[in-house]
């Protein structure tokens, strides 16, 4: 029934391939031959394309309401900072709690510990 088709094509034609897949191959794979026009793709890829891609894609993704990585500490430094700040605040509260509890302990019980610390 599909005699004209030489290969299985389960995911639609090549037009549906995602841009990252295409860029990965045409920029990073494929045989490198120095033509008459000398451009070092690697320089451009590392310094500019990558950064611009990330920025552009993030903005586009946000427009589409996809922003889960912002709250994933492994992917977002901002989420990481938020989490650290929260953790820090909770630990501070806990330390304050402990110090309060310690202050209630009679002074004579604390004295040996103090002495040890000085040695």
């Amino acid at each position: 029934m599909t005699t004209a088709q030489r290969l299985p094509d389960p995911y639609g034609n090549g037009g549906g391939a995602n841009l990252a897949d295409i860029l990965e191959r045409v920029l990073d794979k494929g045989i490198v031959i120095a033509g008459d026009i000398r451009i070092n793709l690697l320089d451009i890829e590392l310094l500019t394309i990558k950064l611009r891609l990330i920025v552009a894609s993030v903005d586009k993704a946000k427009e589409m309401g996809i922003d889960w990585w912002e709250t994933d500490p492994q992917l977002s430094s901002r989420a990481g900072r938020d989490e650290l700040a929260r953790e820090n605040a909770e630990l501070r509260a806990h330390v304050a709690e402990l110090e309060e509890a310690r202050a209630e302990v009679p002074a004579r019980e604390r004295a040996p510990a103090k002495k040890e610390a000085q040695e």
Partner: protein
């Protein structure tokens, strides 16, 4: 004739004309430039866009780059239907036909060797993603429970007021469990990817593991764990695709994505 020559690929002569409606970079239909036992597929491109200065500037322009990459891939795709091309990297540009001819002559031996190796083969791309986790909705996994039991062993230190210390302790334990859970999830994903790669390699003549794709670039949800390419004979492709399809359901929380058939981009290197 003015204009530069953009070279898409080098092939063995394939005897059929390219589709009449096929266009490539700069909207120009590619043509075949035969030289000896080789054919270069080339397109004429304007100097005002493809001379060194303008080309460098264009490559900084994401829209231009995306359109050019798709146009390049469009031609390679059309070639992959009729032959097994040796794809060149984006923006390989010569001044004229004779520049392309002398390049082919210089590299003839290598080209022929590589083309023989790729003849009748295609490249399939397989990626494994771990599905994105919801920041707070994922605390009740079965692994979280076992992690919690393990952690009770640490509850030996004396505390001046256990009741009041509970909140901080619980918080830290919860943090530890979450970390452990994500480590276990990561291990499961790696294990699945390793097994998948192993069984797919059985159908492939050669494989390449590429760096995982940045999810911000691909806009694919989840975290890319495996990004691999497989060199598969056309005759084996159907079985390969079926195998990928079958494994898709074996992996809760993971997503397997197949792309292709591609020209053998990942296997075009002379070292292979």
């Amino acid at each position: 004739m003015s204009g530069l020559r953009y070279v898409y690929a080098v092939c063995r002569p394939f005897g059929t004309p390219l589709p009449a409606q096929l266009t490539g970079v700069a909207g120009v239909p590619p043509k075949q430039l035969v030289h000896g036992d080789l054919v270069a597929v080339v397109g004429q491109v304007p100097e005002e866009d493809f001379a060194e200065g303008p080309l460098r500037a264009h490559l900084e322009d994401l829209d231009w780059l995306g359109a050019t990459a798709r146009a390049h891939q469009n031609v390679i795709d059309a070639l992959t239907v009729v032959t097994s091309p040796l794809p060149l990297r984006l923006a390989t540009v010569f001044l004229d036909d004779s520049g392309v001819r002398s390049m082919m002559e210089e590299r003839e031996e290598t080209f022929l060797r590589t083309l023989d190796r790729l003849d009748g083969r295609v490249e399939w791309g397989v990626k494994v993603y771990s599905e994105p986790t919801e920041p707070s909705g994922e605390t009740s996994g079965e692994s979280g429970v076992s992690g919690g039991l393990g952690d009770t062993g640490t509850r030996t230190a004396s505390s001046p007021s256990p009741g009041r210390a509970g909140s901080g302790r619980d918080y830290l334990r919860q943090r530890r469990n979450q970390r452990k859970e994500s480590e276990e999830k990561w291990e499961r994903a790696e294990e699945f990817s390793r097994r998948l790669h192993e069984s797919l390699s059985g159908y492939a003549e050669d494989t390449r593991i590429h760096a995982p794709q940045n999810s911000a670039i691909s806009r694919a949800p989840g975290r890319n764990i495996l990004n691999a390419a497989y060199l598969v004979p056309r005759t084996e492709s159907e079985a390969f695709v079926e195998l990928v399809d079958r494994t898709k359901d074996d992996a809760p929380g993971l997503r397997v994505e197949l792309t292709g058939p591609w020209a053998c981009y990942s296997f075009s290197g002379e070292d292979a």
